[in-house]
């Protein structure tokens, strides 16, 4: 099947800037916040791209742009060959039913006055109102079974469910229209460890049975590795490194990814000895540093990093945006394994 070689979602040089006002002057000084500043990626049909980064790096903005919730400042998003716009017209609505979203906080994403069955059936009612009620009920029942919700829970309300069960309702609802693309913005971050594992396994099973394509956003590298075929690491609105998770997390090339990977506390003690602790906080995206956005915290920064933005260059499927890596003679990465 050659459909699998075609990207379902392709994003080219995507930018989203916000006009903000900084303190100073009578009405403040105008400034530009570059939430997303020129990112490109593709997701092949049936594959999952994991997007990792710290708060404020632009990963959630990317999710909103991809779904057409907010207009782009520059760049292009193509979903199955068609351009995604933020004009909420009939064409967008038709596209939007094929792209669904799972949010971090299930209680906030659910309507507290609707029972579980009504929540899951609602998208079908909205996007396919011609569906007879009997068929809709049947679909709801089978969705509930698929996500592991008991039949007798159909009449319960969100406040009567546990956090894990609520997230299952959100997942069932997102899958009710058999979407081609599922965007998960921190879908398991609010859950306890044992429940998190249940939901991750569930998403994995559903992906195998329904074959959806996914954009999986999380700050947790371990979760992203578990779920993704490819990962992209974001820092201040840019992708600094991307590739297969095994490659990126085992042999990180970009100094930021190296610090991120080494900072993960693990139950294997050996990690403590070679931990890289970065100095300072991420800079405010309103006055992002010139050149490489990471140079202010980078332990290895050179003069070139302050003036030139490094390009995201590829070697054998592994892309890195770092002068030190890209300047180095071929095959000699700056990082030892």
């Amino acid at each position: 099947m050659n459909a699998a070689d075609k990207p379902l979602l392709s994003v080219t040089n995507l930018k989203r800037h916000y006009d903000v006002r900084l303190p100073g002057g009578l009405f403040g000084t105008p400034a530009t916040l570059k939430a997303v500043d020129g990112i490109s990626f593709e997701i092949m049909k049936g594959k999952t791209l994991g997007l990792v980064g710290e708060s404020g790096c632009g990963k959630s903005t990317t999710a909103k742009l991809v779904l057409g919730h907010i207009p782009v400042t520059a760049g292009e998003i193509r979903f199955d060959g068609e351009t995604v716009t933020a004009n909420h017209n009939a064409q967008w609505r038709a596209m939007r039913r094929r792209m669904q979203m799972i949010y971090q906080d299930p209680l906030g994403a659910l309507d507290r006055r609707l029972s579980v069955a009504d929540q899951i059936g609602e998208p079908i009612q909205i996007h396919a109102p011609e569906t007879p009620k009997a068929e809709r009920d049947e679909r709801v029942a089978s969705l509930m079974a698929n996500v592991g919700l008991r039949r007798d829970m159909a009449d319960r309300f969100p406040h009567e469910l546990s956090g894990g069960q609520r997230q299952r309702v959100v997942i069932a609802r997102a899958l009710s229209l058999k979407p081609d693309l599922l965007v998960g913005d921190e879908p398991v971050s609010a859950l306890d460890v044992s429940i998190q594992a249940q939901v991750l396994n569930l998403l994995d099973d559903l992906r195998q049975s329904t074959g959806f394509t996914a954009l999986f956003i999380s700050h947790d590298l371990k979760v992203v590795r578990q779920m993704s075929d490819r990962v992209a690491v974001m820092y201040l609105g840019r992708i600094v490194e991307s590739g297969a998770p095994e490659e990126v997390f085992r042999r990180p090339q970009h100094p930021y990814t190296q610090a991120l990977v080494s900072a993960i506390p693990t139950i294997r003690r050996s990690a403590v000895s070679n931990r890289i602790v970065l100095k300072g906080d991420p800079p405010n995206p309103v006055n992002a540093p010139s050149g490489c956005p990471f140079h202010t915290r980078c332990p290895a920064a050179i003069a070139q990093c302050k003036s030139e933005v490094p390009a995201l260059l590829e070697t054998a499927g592994h892309k890195v945006a770092c002068h030190l890596v890209n300047n180095a003679p071929a095959g000699a990465g700056i990082a030892a394994e």
């Binding site: 710290e54 460890v193 594992a197 396994n201 590298l221 578990q226 900072a263 906080d281």
Partner: protein, 338 residues
């Protein structure tokens, strides 16, 4: 080991209007001088309540039983004045969300100054100099200027440093850190954990780290207690607990964690959910979710008892058998690594 705080058989019941619901079922825990102790468990297991109860912070609707001894003082018998000396003085506590623990309308300097006045009797210039020293100590650059700023002008990581500076103001013997890095980014978490590690080593201050993150606890502590449904179900030296976990719940938690290295595997999830405190099953509270549970488990609550010495305590009827399995697994992991 001389314990600086020792909790014995502590229970907490919450008044639900028409009845009491027991949230803590008899916790006993010692914290030694300068020791770092981790307390792990999922939400609602009672890990925070234990310490809030010990410091009398639970309010009138909670009925607290048992004993909490600090030296010769029994904390649960102290009046408000007596407790006020302990809180922030001998035992300081920091919480998950620094921005909600700090007062948004007062400058940082004034908030640290308040702690210095209450606990050390410092005022004016002396308080200001000490506040500046504390900010320097917790790694805030440009301390003199920061004293005049408001919490909203600082980042989350900085605010957590300010909270730690305030906690240090009373020169506490024990610092209770309740999920201190949960709201922070990974790279900032690494900074704060380093700071806590450094402080507890320097000051001979005991550190109690409450966290849901097994990785953080493994990194930071010497000894760990795992809690489930208001009970400690396993406690041991950190190395022993993570290399040879015995209780099926501890083993389940560890197996449910995704890895960052090694081959990708399907996560082993623990089936079911944590029962609410007013609907605990009779017998072992983990039995309904446990693959090993038999009739005996469903009938009686096992006591926390030592296995094989070295302070490894487990509350499970199948502990002996599971300990053997854990030993075998640890040995084969060891072989694999070699």
């Amino acid at each position: 080991m001389d314990a600086i705080v020792s909790i014995r058989n502590m229970t907490v019941d919450f008044d639900q209007g028409h009845r009491f619901v027991r949230a803590l079922h008899g916790i006993s825990l010692d914290v030694g001088r300068g020791e770092t102790v981790g307390i792990v468990g999922e939400s609602g297991c009672g890990k925070s309540i234990t310490w809030l109860a010990a410091l009398g912070l639970l309010g009138k609707r909670a009925r607290v039983g048992g004993r909490v001894m600090m030296g010769s003082k029994s904390l649960l018998d102290l009046d408000e004045n007596g407790l006020a000396d302990i809180r922030g003085g001998k035992i300081a506590m920091i919480f998950q969300d620094p921005s909600s623990s700090l007062n948004p309308v007062h400058r940082i300097g004034r908030q640290i100054g308040e702690a210095l006045r209450l606990h050390r009797g410092l005022r004016g210039g002396a308080a200001k100099a000490e506040a500046k020293r504390l900010l320097d100590r917790v790694g805030i650059s440009n301390a003199a200027q920061r004293l005049n700023e408001y919490p909203h002008e600082l980042s989350g990581g900085m605010n957590q440093r300010v909270m730690i500076a305030m906690a240090l103001a009373g020169e506490p013997e024990v610092l209770i850190a309740d999920e201190p890095t949960t709201a922070l980014d990974v790279t900032i978490q690494a900074q704060i954990l380093d700071l806590l590690r450094e402080l507890s080593a320097d000051n001979e201050m005991a550190l109690v780290l409450i966290s849901h993150d097994l990785g953080v606890v493994a990194d930071m502590t010497e000894r760990v207690a795992v809690m489930y449904c208001g009970r400690i179900i396993e406690q041991a030296a950190t190395d022993a607990l993570f290399s040879r976990p015995v209780h099926p719940y501890t083993r389940g938690l560890i197996a449910a964690l995704p890895d960052i290295v090694g081959p990708k595997r399907r996560l082993a999830s623990i089936p079911g959910t944590v029962p609410p405190p007013d609907r605990l099953p009779p017998g072992c509270s983990f039995a309904p979710r446990c693959a090993r549970a038999d009739q005996a488990c469903r009938d009686s609550q096992p006591e926390l008892a030592g296995i094989g010495g070295q302070g490894h305590d487990v509350s499970c009827l199948h502990a002996t058998e599971l300990a053997m399995t854990a030993m075998r697994e640890a040995a084969s992991n060891e072989m694999e690594r070699a």
